[in-house]
């Protein structure tokens, strides 16, 4: 039993409340990612679960037991820090054995557990080295190894990949996914990178300004964001938002063309959201809106076209392959009804 549950968890510093009552159930063995912009309280929430920050209100339980007043070492958690937090004056082996030695674990068992973790992470060759003699990726593995040897119920990761370069980050991401599969432990992972959130998570928790905006699987969040914040945050290319006016049996788009739509709540729609990958080029007659191409980014397998509408809106269109488009040429864009998300005045999704 290593489920984690949060009940009305709050955190304030003096009179400033930064986490405003969070309720969340994390099942045993689940990989949950907290994601959100900086300052949204995701790290604070993780540190409260870790026992590094006292909580100002509510209950945190791990394995069915309220741990509000239980000090960190007895919570059965292990934490991987953003800066790795390796002890620079100890070898890799000593770093990994530190916690076990403190717990007066028999020497043979320490040895066996460190070797086992080193084998899983493929760092057996570095055990006698000092941290400063390791590369960033290797240090990251040692930090994870230090967590594994303690055999915790819950792993906590605080932005563990943000100090690695892009290619190493992608590689380590895959390794963390594999590790979760191997260890079958509960993992809570904090990141501001929505790619890490999408690829690693069983469930994503989107936080904004100290409250949970939405909890769901990556695809749920991608397909059915509950509001404009989640819609704009999830997925690699940001969703386009256009101001619309309900009119007759459809919505009036910028440029005054009508999008006919049989949506039950279209009367309340104020904002239309559509992902760049759902937009497509169209003939001038069939187009829903048109504009001039102001920037095009070619990635080879796809291209991103930034189209400026006469209304001043900038719309991103993701096009397959390497389209032959000229800067400043007129682009006609079609809007397929199935890719459309509607939001009301307050930014809530209309279903």
């Amino acid at each position: 039993m290593s489920d984690v549950s949060l009940r009305g968890v709050r955190k304030s510093y003096g009179s400033v409340e930064v986490v405003h009552g969070v309720d969340l159930d994390i099942k045993s063995g689940e990989f949950v990612v907290f994601v959100g912009p900086s300052g949204c309280g995701k790290s604070t929430l993780l540190r409260m679960i870790a026992g590094l920050e006292p909580i100002s209100g509510g209950d945190i339980s791990i394995g069915g037991k309220v741990v509000n007043d239980i000090p960190s070492p007895q919570r059965g958690i292990a934490m991987v820090f953003q800066s790795y937090a390796l002890y620079p004056h100890m070898s890799v082996y000593e770093n990994m054995a530190f916690g076990l030695k403190l717990a007066k674990t028999p020497k043979a068992e320490v040895e066996q557990r460190v070797r086992e973790a080193a084998r899983i992470l493929q760092i057996e060759d570095y055990l006698e080295r000092m941290p400063k003699a390791l590369s960033g990726g290797q240090r990251q593995r040692v930090a994870i190894g230090r967590a594994i040897v303690r055999n915790p119920k819950v792993f906590l990761f605080d932005e563990p990949l943000s100090n690695l370069d892009a290619s190493l980050r992608a590689q380590t991401r895959i390794e963390i996914a594999k590790l979760h599969d191997t260890l079958d432990a509960t993992m809570i992972y904090v990141t501001h990178d929505q790619v890490e959130a999408m690829t690693l998570a069983d469930r994503i928790v989107v936080l904004n300004a100290g409250i949970i905006e939405q909890v769901g699987s990556p695809l749920e969040l991608y397909r059915n964001p509950v509001n404009t914040f989640v819609a704009g945050f999830i997925a690699s290319q940001r969703m386009n938002f256009l101001t619309v006016t309900p009119s007759g049996d459809g919505l009036l788009l910028p440029g005054n063309r009508l999008l006919t739509l049989s949506h039950a709540q279209r009367e309340n729609a104020r904002t239309l959201g559509v992902r760049p990958e759902h937009l497509q080029l169209a003939s001038p007659e069939a187009a829903h809106f048109s504009g001039t191409l102001s920037v095009i980014e070619q990635f080879g397998e796809y291209a991103l076209a930034y189209v400026e509408l006469p209304s001043g809106d900038l719309v991103t269109v993701k096009l397959d392959g390497a389209p032959d488009l000229q800067l400043h040429q007129t682009i006609h864009i079609g809007l397929p009804a199935e890719g459309v998300h509607l939001f009301d005045e307050a930014g809530r999704a209309l279903r």
Partner: protein, 270 residues
Amino acid sequence: MDSTGPSRTAAIALAFMAVIWISPFSWLILNAFNPLSTGQLEIPRAVGLDNFALAVSGNAGRQFINSMLIAAGTATLSVIVGISAAYPLSRLRIPGRNAFLWTLVLLRMLPSAGVLVPLYFAAQRSGLLNQLGVIIALTVLNLPFTLLLLKNFFDTVPIELEEAAYVEGASLLQIVTKIVLPMSRAGIAVVWFYSFTGAWNEFLLPLIFARVQDAFPMSVGLYAAFGQQGAINYGFLTAFSIIYAAPAVGVYFLLRRNMNTGFAGVGVKG
């Protein structure tokens, strides 16, 4: 004119400077190793360690031990008190802690002769007119800089390391002894060695506090060695001076080695 070639005038001038620099040292060494020393700068007719034997036995030997006790005691006590005070100053958000530290340093800027009288009476009242008194007084005088130095060293130990150790089950004492102190050992070495040399060289306080010959450290002993028994024994005096200077030189090399092997850095990138 060839401006890069050696010039005769420059060579003479440099040689002259070299002689001026070297002559006191050669005088010191030649006399120290000459058992029949007269205090003249001359090539000794005999070479021996008799002077050194004299300088480490009897009264002189006791003074060496006294000096060691005072210097090592002051350095160790400064480090222990300094660590216990500087760590909380570094980690706790005590209001006005920096103003407090700098005020202490300002007070320390007063010449120690200025606080000698109150120090003397305080020591007299508490029965500390002895070596322990000297050690305590010197430690107190050392503390402002010790605190400032150690606090700055502790500030460089990332708090995440302590948090990591805490999550792994380390107590506060274990965090300090196993993480913070080993990582600050360069700073601790600096403080220890500086306090050591400072206390080793200290003349005024031991002179006032230790009023019997048995309690004199070398600094006071050297002063007293002039004109003892009517005549000056230059051989003894020079050997005594060399022994007196040796720890300072030794400390220099120890310090250099410690600074080189000090803080390795946590290194987030790489």
